[in-house]
C-alpha cells in the first residue's frame, strides 16, 4: 500500500483550525493553571491549617488520577449541576484544574528553595509581607523553576489531545474526523503528530523568549539561581 499524504494535507483548513484551538486551550489553561499553582503553593505553605490541607488534597487528588477521568468528572459534574457548557469551556476547566495541581508542586519546590535569610533580609529592609512575597520569594522562585514549569505547560498542551474525547474540536478531534473521512488513518496521525511536535517546539521557543524578557539575569548569565 502506498502512502498518500496529499489527501490528508488537502484538509489543511481543518488541521489549522484544530491546531489553533489546541494552542488556545493550552495558553489559556497555562495562564489559569499558573495562577492556581502560585495561589495553592502559597496556601500550602501558609499557616492556616484548613487551607493548607485543602490545597494538599487538591494536588494529591489531581496527581493520582488520570486526566481522562478528570475530564469526564468535570463534564458530568458540571452537567449534573445543571450547567451545560460548550465542550471548549469544559476542556478548559479540566485542563486548568489539572495543570494547576502540577504547577502547585513545582512552585512549592521553588518557594522551598528560597533561603530563610533572603526573607529576613527583605523584612529587615522594611518590605511589607506582600512585597517580600513578590520581590524576594515569587520572582526568584519562578526564575528557578522556570524550566520545569514550562516543560509542564508543554505537556499540558499535549494532554489537551485527550479533550477530543468530549468532542472539543481540537487537533486530535480534527485528525479523527479526517481519518474517518479519508480512510488515511496512518498518514493522518503522522501529520498530526508532526503538528504536535511543531506546536511543542513553538511553545518552547515562546517560553524561551518570554524567559529572556522576564528574567534578565538568566539571559545574561545563563546560570541557575
Amino acid at each position: 500500500m502506498e502512502l498518500d499524504f496529499t489527501t490528508v494535507l488537502s484538509r489543511w483548513p481543518m488541521l489549522r483550525d484544530g491546531a489553533l484551538l489546541t494552542l488556545e486551550l493550552a495558553l489559556i489553561a497555562t495562564t489559569i493553571g499558573f495562577a492556581i499553582g502560585v495561589a495553592c503553593a502559597v496556601g500550602r505553605r501558609g499557616s492556616v491549617r484548613w487551607i493548607a490541607a485543602a490545597c494538599g488534597f487538591y494536588v494529591e487528588a489531581v496527581r493520582n488520577t488520570p486526566f481522562l477521568v478528570q475530564i469526564f468528572l468535570v463534564y458530568f459534574g458540571l452537567s449534573s449541576l445543571g450547567l451545560s457548557l460548550p465542550a471548549f469551556t469544559v476542556a478548559l476547566v479540566a485542563l486548568s484544574i489539572n495543570v494547576g495541581a502540577y504547577a502547585t508542586e513545582i512552585m512549592r519546590a521553588g518557594f522551598d528553595a528560597i533561603p530563610r535569610g533572603q526573607i529576613e533580609a527583605g523584612e529587615c529592609l522594611g518590605l511589607s509581607r506582600l512585597q517580600v512575597y513578590w520581590h524576594v520569594i515569587l520572582l526568584p522562585a519562578v526564575e528557578r523553576v522556570y524550566p520545569s514549569l514550562t516543560s509542564q505547560f508543554v505537556l499540558l498542551m499535549l494532554a489537551s489531545s485527550v479533550t477530543s474525547q468530549i468532542s472539543t474540536e481540537e487537533l486530535t478531534a480534527a485528525a479523527n474526523f479526517i481519518q474517518s473521512d479519508t480512510y488515511r488513518a496512518f498518514e493522518t496521525y503522522i501529520v498530526v503528530a508532526v503538528f504536535y511536535v511543531a506546536l511543542s517546539l513553538l511553545m518552547r521557543a515562546g517560553f524561551w523568549a518570554l524567559g529572556g524578557a522576564v528574567f534578565p539575569r538568566r539571559r545574561r548569565l545563563g546560570t541557575v539561581i
Binding site: 494529591e60 488515511r184 503528530a193
Partner: protein
C-alpha cells in the same frame, strides 16, 4: 447487564477492568523499561551520531501526545496493512512512550553520578563497558529509583488512554457500565477513587524514597 442500579456484577466488571489496568501498566513498565535502558545508553553513547539520533527520536516521542501514538498504532497500522489487537497496540504505544520519558530520567541519573567516579574507574583500567556496568550503573540505580517509582504513577494513569482504542481497562469498563446505568458522575467518581487507590500509595512510596535516599527533591515535571 441492563440493571438500573449499581450492583455486584457492575463492581466485578470494574474490578476486572482494574486488573487489566494493572496488567497493562506492568507490560508498559517492563517493555518501557527495556526501551528506556536502550534510550539511556544511546543518549550517553560515545558516538555523536547515536546521541543525536536517539535525542531526536526522544524529542519526537515526547512532542507527540500518547493518544495520537495510540491512534497511530491502532487505526494507522491497519490502514497500511498491519492489523493489531488493542492490547498489542496499547502495549506497544506505552512501551515507546515510557521508553522516551523514563529513558531521559535514567540518562539524568547516570549523568548525576559524580564525574570523579568515572575517572576513578578509568584509572583502574576498566573498559568502558566495565566502567558503566560495574561502577556507574549501580550508583545510578540508587539515584534513579525514586523518580522511577514516581513514574509508575504516570504509567498507571496513562493506561487510561487505552480506553480510547476500545481496550477494556478501568476507564473503559466504567464507560461500558455507564451505558446501562446512566449515572456517569457516580461512576467516574468511583473510577477516580480506584485510580487514586492504585496511585496514591506509590506516590507516597516514591516520596519516602526521595527523602530517605537524600537526593534533593527537585521540581519534577510529570505527565498529566
Amino acid at each position: 447487564m441492563m440493571g438500573g442500579h449499581l450492583n455486584a456484577f457492575h463492581l466485578a466488571y470494574l474490578a476486572n477492568g482494574a486488573m487489566w489496568t494493572v496488567v497493562l501498566s506492568a507490560m508498559a513498565f517492563l517493555g518501557g523499561g527495556v526501551a528506556a535502558f536502550l534510550v539511556a545508553l544511546c543518549r550517553i553513547s560515545p558516538l555523536r551520531i547515536v546521541r543525536v539520533a536517539s535525542g531526536a527520536v526522544v524529542q519526537l516521542v515526547q512532542g507527540t501526545p500518547l493518544l495520537v501514538i495510540l491512534f497511530l498504532a491502532y487505526f494507522g497500522l491497519p490502514a497500511i496493512g498491519f492489523s493489531v489487537p488493542p492490547l498489542l497496540a496499547a502495549g506497544a504505544s506505552l512501551t515507546i512512550y515510557v521508553g522516551a520519558f523514563l529513558g531521559e530520567v535514567w540518562r539524568g541519573a547516570i549523568l548525576a553520578v559524580p564525574a570523579p567516579q568515572w575517572e576513578a574507574a578509568e584509572c583502574l583500567a576498566l573498559s568502558r563497558t566495565q566502567r558503566l556496568f560495574q561502577v556507574i550503573l549501580p550508583q545510578a540505580v540508587r539515584i534513579a529509583t525514586p523518580p522511577t517509582v514516581g513514574f509508575l504513577v504516570q504509567i498507571i494513569k496513562s493506561t487510561s488512554l487505552a480506553s480510547a482504542i476500545g481496550f477494556v481497562e478501568l476507564a473503559r469498563a466504567g464507560q461500558i457500565i455507564n451505558n446501562s446505568l446512566l449515572e456517569p458522575f457516580l461512576i467516574y467518581v468511583i473510577i477516580a477513587c480506584v485510580y487514586f487507590a492504585l496511585c496514591y500509595p506509590i506516590s507516597r512510596w516514591s516520596r519516602r524514597l526521595e527523602r530517605s535516599t537524600g537526593f534533593a527533591r527537585s521540581a519534577r515535571v510529570a505527565v498529566p
